[in-house]
């Protein structure tokens, strides 16, 4: 799988490169600003870009803007955006830049190497991956009279993991239960929230997120 990395801090750029190479990704370019990122994406036939939000020259959100720009130039092009902090606002902007192939994670998550690599693969495969911090805020925002308050503790946990973009199998292994138990939970959740049950993982994430963001 061909990856382009955009990260201005050399330490982290090299770290990400080594990490991804160790998991058999081919890092075709590793650049340190948004402009070079867009150039690299036009030049190389990459499968995914891993992009830091804050980069030169203004050190604000040019990484995010470049990621969205890349998806304008190539609709649906998978980007995984990394940041030292996450914002609901940025999550919304990324999610509305087209369906699927979007990830938004705290840089901290890289430390959990295997689930980070899993996230890169999921996004490259057209999936949606959101940081738990974004999702927990979304769920916390639910009003007392929202159907979400009718969910049990466990169902809420499952809902959160679904919104992060995990598959049933991943959720099951995280919660140490069987996949069957999870699919039972998900159908209860969808019923309680009045959502249409969808077996496609990505469409399921989007349905949940749309519900939470309304």
């Amino acid at each position: 799988m061909r990856v382009v990395i955009a990260e201005d801090l050399a330490l982290l750029r090299d770290g990400l490169t080594r990490l991804l190479q160790a998991y058999d990704f081919e890092v075709v370019a590793a650049v340190d600003n948004a402009e070079l990122l867009l150039e690299a994406l036009r030049e190389h036939e990459a499968d995914i870009a891993v992009v830091d939000v804050r980069m030169p020259p203004t050190f604000t959100d040019e990484g995010l803007r470049a990621a969205i720009q890349a998806r304008v130039e190539r609709p649906g092009f998978p980007v995984l955006v990394l940041s030292q902090y996450v914002e609901q606002l940025y999550a919304r902007e990324l999610l509305s830049s087209g369906d699927g192939g979007v990830g938004y994670l705290l840089k901290d998550r890289v430390a959990d190497v295997s689930s980070f690599v899993e996230a890169v693969r999921a996004v490259a495969g057209g999936g949606t991956v959101l940081d738990p911090e974004v999702v927990s805020t979304l769920i916390a925002r639910a009003q007392p009279d929202s159907p979400i308050s009718k969910l049990t503790e466990r169902e809420r946990e499952v809902l959160g993991l679904m919104a992060e973009g995990r598959s049933n199998a991943a959720i099951a292994s995280q919660l140490f239960v069987t996949e069957k138990a999870i699919s039972k939970h998900t159908s209860t959740i969808f019923m309680k929230l009045g959502l249409f049950q969808d077996d496609d993982d990505n469409r399921r994430v989007l349905a949940v997120l749309t519900y939470l963001q309304h």
Binding site: R54, Y85, D112, T137
Partner: protein, 438 residues
């Protein structure tokens, strides 16, 4: 207020043309002053009458309308006279302490500047008016003598015959002799026009500029708010130091210990070492979390990225109750103002979340050319008070450093409306960052 041209005084080594233009402008201004005396007289009559009948309600209503109009008129004079004097005349008004009709009237009654405005109106229709007329008359005299021969020519025989006693002017040829008087009129106009207009402007300044007491009170306010901001920032630095010490620093120490132990255990207890490493990883995550919250407390990244507008939108999305944000802001305030207003709004929204039991809140942000206004409303239980220990006091102090004010209207039973105002200029609009929605 453009007060760079010192038109009542000659610039050094001024040429004749420049001097002439200066005097023509001054004469033009004298006409403006004469004309402005008309609304001034009207305002004076109305205000004096309104004050007389203030005991019956109608006088108060009239005052509510005409005091601001008088302020407008005074402001026009501040601008004109500061141009003549080449030095700005500051507006001396106190910010009204309370809203609502009676509150405004009370603040005005306690504001010496309003009374000085009133006294000035008297001056401007009496001495001021006379001075302006004389200045205008000097100019008119010049014009009159200049055109006299032509007037004599086009008017019927004898209309402008003048008997000077020793000499009777009664032919067209003699009419040109009036140009001798033109020289006199020119001389007087040339010498006196700047002096008279300067007097007029000085009169305006003496009555319209902030008085000494106002300035003294202002100095006291400024040193007090400066002391408070210094205290506040010292306290903030102490808090940050403590947060780092107890949070990220402590976690990094723990991380070092974990890694050291893992290193020791690697040879004889690989499984234990793996456990230690997993623990170390968890510690890095919490250290990063600590650092993030410290950074948010110093300067929220989204504020740096998107400015006040984006940061407030982001803040609204993070709140647990629905918050709508309405913004009409043509540019960006200075960064320190943005930061103060952002933290003040954060505090207000946090208060709403904690105490108000509200179902929704609205934040609106606007700028009227001089003042940034943030209104935070909620439909909660009300009863919020500014006082010792209340978070609202901290908000007021934060804004005080920028001459900002906060007004809280929160009857028991709600709703609560908090209005914050900070005088500031806006920078030209920055090209707004692209958003995913466009």
């Amino acid at each position: 207020m453009s007060a760079t041209t010192l038109i009542a005084q000659p610039s050094h080594g001024e040429s004749f043309a420049v001097g002439l233009r200066r005097r023509v402008v001054l004469t033009g201004l004298s006409l403006v002053y004469v004309l402005l005396a008309v609304p001034a007289l009207a305002l004076l009559c109305i205000l004096t009458t309104s004050l007389g009948v203030a005991v019956v309600g109608v006088g108060l209503v009239l005052l509510l309308v005409f005091v601001p109009l008088n302020q407008q008129l005074a402001n026009v004079h501040r601008t004109l006279s500061s141009r003549i004097l080449g030095a700005p005349i500051e507006r001396p008004y106190l910010r009204p302490a309370a809203a609502g009709g009676l509150g405004l009237l009370r603040s005005w009654a306690l504001d010496p500047a309003r009374w000085r405005d009133f006294a000035w109106t008297w001056m401007s229709v009496t001495i001021g008016w006379a001075l302006s007329w004389i200045s205008l008359g000097l100019g008119l005299g010049v014009i009159w003598y200049l055109v006299f021969p032509f007037v004599y020519w086009i008017t019927p025989e004898g209309t402008f015959d003048t008997n000077y006693g020793l000499f009777k002017l009664d032919t067209q040829g003699e009419a040109f002799l009036e140009w001798i008087l033109l020289a006199v009129a020119l001389f007087i106009w040339w010498k006196l026009e700047p002096v008279l207009m300067r007097w007029r402007a000085e009169l305006d300044r003496s009555m319209l500029a902030p008085s000494r007491e106002t300035l003294q009170r202002r100095v006291v306010e400024v040193s007090q708010s400066r002391a408070e901001s210094i205290d506040h920032s010292a306290a903030e630095l102490r808090r940050i130091e403590r947060d780092l010490h107890d949070g990220a620093q402590a976690r990094l120490v723990a991380l070092g210990m974990n890694l050291g132990m893992a290193e020791e255990m690697l040879a004889h207890d690989p499984e234990g070492a793996a456990r230690m490493l997993a623990e170390a990883r968890a510690v890095t995550t919490s250290a990063l979390g600590d650092l993030r919250s410290v950074v948010r407390g110093i300067h929220p990244p989204v504020l740096a990225d998107r400015g006040l507008v984006g940061a407030l939108q982001a803040l609204a999305l993070d709140m647990s109750l629905p918050v709508s944000v309405m913004i009409s802001l043509p540019g960006r305030p200075a960064e320190p103002v943005e930061s103060a207003v952002y933290f003040a709004t954060t505090e207000l929204l946090a208060n709403i979340g904690k105490h108000a039991r509200a179902t929704r809140a609205v934040v609106s942000l606007s700028h009227d050319g001089a003042v940034l206004r943030v209104v935070v409303e909620d439909d909660g239980v009300g009863g919020a008070e500014v006082g010792a220990g209340s978070g609202l006091t901290g908000v007021a102090r934060r804004l005080g450093a920028f001459d900002g004010t906060m007004e809280v209207i929160s009857p028991v039973g709600g709703p609560t409306v908090v209005t914050m105002e900070v005088p500031c200029a806006l920078s030209s609009p920055k090209i707004s960052p692209s958003s995913g929605t466009d």
